[in-house]
């Protein structure tokens, strides 16, 4: 029944299938262009670093992913504050999209960092300040997603998540400044807090290409994830409406088929 209704109304003006649009196609194509540049310069054209050697090629992935994660987490925090103020679905969906994308990028950052650590330090992991605070940050946002997965009233769930989103973001400056506040193994002095100060020429080009690509991919994912979340909410509402309608028909006296089906199953005869 529902599908028939969708087909008849879509004949008037075609609606997009999925979460794509002209804007996401342009965004995706631009991100792809910078990704190609990042791969070409990051893996093949740029020379090895004078200090880091070829492991600088891991940094070309490590820095963009952490920047994308920070942006996603900051958007989650902003959306959380806005949700607590406005109480609208838009801010809840934006916040949850940011948390999910941020967890993805931050987990990748940690894995890339561990691979870099294996070459540079000889071990994948050390409980030093930057790494420890990063692990705590990741766990906090995984907690956000876990709370979101707990069955609850949508408004209650959104409020819980908004509070976690605001608390978790406090950890970002701690992670970022951990290399200055405590002594550890992680590299400290950087340009703009992210890029190696001795970089230049093709190395810097590779880094900025990867950084722009990472942020564009993050933005592209944001749009798609937000729209998928929006569709999930609408589908959930439609499913609930349909279930209520079916229950109403079942309970009405003019529904002999449902009574018959219950009798066939050997249910109680009232």
């Amino acid at each position: 029944m529902t599908s028939t209704k969708i087909e008849s109304s879509s004949a008037a003006a075609p609606a997009p299938i999925g979460t794509g649009s002209r804007g996401t196609k342009v965004l995706g194509a631009t991100a792809l262009f910078f990704l190609v540049l990042a791969v070409a310069y990051g893996l093949f054209i740029s020379p090895a670093d004078s200090q880091l050697g070829n492991t600088v090629r891991i940094i070309y992935m490590h820095v963009p992913t952490v920047m994308a994660a920070y942006v996603a987490f900051l958007i989650t925090a902003l959306s959380s504050a806005m949700y607590l103020w406005k109480r609208t679905e838009f801010w809840d969906l934006l916040g949850s999209s940011g948390a999910e994308i941020g967890v993805l990028f931050f987990a990748v950052t940690i894995v890339d960092g561990a691979l870099w650590g294996k070459v540079t330090w000889g071990v994948f992991w050390r409980w030093e300040p930057r790494l420890t605070t990063s692990a705590v940050l990741l766990i906090m946002y995984i907690g956000y997603l876990a709370v979101r997965a707990i069955p609850a009233d949508p408004k209650t769930r959104a409020t819980r998540c908004a509070i976690i989103g605001l608390v978790a973001v406090v950890n970002i400056p701690i992670v970022h400044k951990a290399v200055d506040w405590w002594r550890g193994l992680h590299q400290g002095k950087t340009v703009l807090g992210t890029i190696h100060p001795d970089m230049g020429g093709t190395q810097l080009f590779a880094m900025y290409s990867a950084l722009i690509a990472g942020l564009l991919v993050c933005a592209w994912l944001f749009v798609h994830r937000f729209r998928a979340g929006f569709l999930a909410e609408r589908a959930s509402e439609l499913g609930l409406d349909q279930a209520l309608e079916e229950r109403r028909l079942e309970s009405s006296p003019a529904a002999p088929s449902s009574r018959g089906a219950r009798d066939d199953l050997g249910g109680p005869q009232t």
């Binding site: 969708i6 999925g18 992935m61 890339d112 798609h224 929006f230 569709l231």
Partner: protein
């Protein structure tokens, strides 16, 4: 050898994870859009 493996591994992990997640989100969106009326999925 370890260095090369770690460099390639980092790029594979990054592209593999983000690419897989993107595929999941796109497919989920396509599946969900079949169940939602067109007037509720008109993007800008």
């Amino acid at each position: 050898m370890t260095e090369t493996l770690c460099i390639v591994g980092a790029w594979v992990v990054t592209f593999g994870s983000v690419g897989s997640y993107a595929a999941v989100v796109i497919l989920r969106g396509r599946r969900l859009s079949q169940t939602v009326p067109p007037e509720q999925r008109r993007w800008m």
